[in-house]
Symmetry: C2
Subunit: 181 residues, 2 copies
DNA sequence: CCCGCATCTTGTCGGTGACAATTTATGCTG
DNA sequence: CAGCATAAATTGTCACCGACAAGATGCGGG
């Protein structure tokens, strides 16, 4: 599954880390394979060997993101509130992964690994709804996902007014609670 | 007004329209000023004269988007449900504008025109909350915005499972109603 | 009539993604 | 331990892109 290190050590890993850092600095649009190669101290064509092309690298970022999201959501317990907060926390703490994951024009969303990891994340998110009285489970799942995803996206975009405060977790908690009142 | 001759007639307008079309086809990341120039039948450097650079063009797209969103939301009445549906409809029908608007790394979000148009849109969205019993208006506004924005974003990203159906407006209506139960 | 000035063109530069051919290092096999 | 197959990374190249500079064009006011 993982490539063993030869010349560089583990260039694949190093490139993924450099990509995440670069995206956090200037967004996925400004990402340059050649810049990643420079950061890793290798030649400009080295990334192509591991990922094929730019979309291939971002596909790997998306897979990693969905995997970590599934793990974080799964570790947040059974309460919808906590699962929702974990979703927002993931978006804020792993903004590079999150931004790539929901930008299907940047990577190959039909990739088999992506599909599998995405399904795991979806299942974990839906697990948070198990404890709710379910009159319309599909609808409730969609509403819960929408509200946490929307909050996370707006927060990351810097679109929220100052009244939202400075702590995303606290604000998210209040917003999600609105679903239960 | 024709597209003939040395002077185009309304190149600015033509470039904006071409940009929207190109973004709808392949997303904002793949946008190329030179491609827009080709579509408009002008030289590769013509866009720079009207927009300065790529960020300048996308800034104009964002302004146009916020203006239209404000108009659409304002025309949707006073009920939160209808305003929310209008928000989702805008995102689906003007996906290029919507995608640019919430991608602050692509344009100049601190531009004066952007600020003004964005404030108009925010005010229009908040107008939908006037008819609600307000225990925590800020929190309610944030929750409403989050749920419609999240739904719209997930829909556009193609992230929703097939259970969500094929009609975004209908699904959005059901999801938003969840806020009132 | 002509000239100012916005509009558009041509030309160029550094940077980028993708691909091809080549070199280097590793692990395997005998 | 010797040699080879192959993965890993390099060099070289091409078309395209964004940005900038300098020149050409033509509309409209004096």
């Amino acid at each position: 599954m993982t490539t063993r290190g030869y010349h560089h050590g583990d260039l694949r890993r190093a490139l993924l880390d450099a990509a995440v850092q670069a995206i956090e600095e200037s967004g996925p649009a400004a990402l340059s394979l050649r810049d990643l190669a420079r950061r890793a101290g290798v030649s400009h064509a080295a990334p192509a060997h591991h990922f094929g092309d730019k979309a291939g690298l971002l596909t790997a970022v998306a897979v990693e993101g969905y995997d970590r999201l599934a793990a974080d959501l799964g570790g947040a317990g059974d309460e919808l509130l906590e699962v929702g907060v974990a979703y927002v926390r993931f978006a804020v703490d792993h903004r590079a992964h999150f931004e790539v994951m929901f930008r299907p024009d940047l990577y190959r969303g039909d990739d088999a690994e992506v599909r599998a990891a995405r399904d795991r994340a979806r299942a974990a998110l839906r697990g948070g709804l198990a404890a709710l009285p379910a009159t319309a489970p599909d609808r409730d799942a969609l509403a819960a996902w929408s509200i946490v995803h929307g909050f996370a996206t707006l927060w990351l975009a810097g679109a929220l007014p100052p009244e939202a405060g400075r702590d995303p977790e606290q604000a998210a908690r209040a917003v999600i609670r609105r679903l239960f009142e």
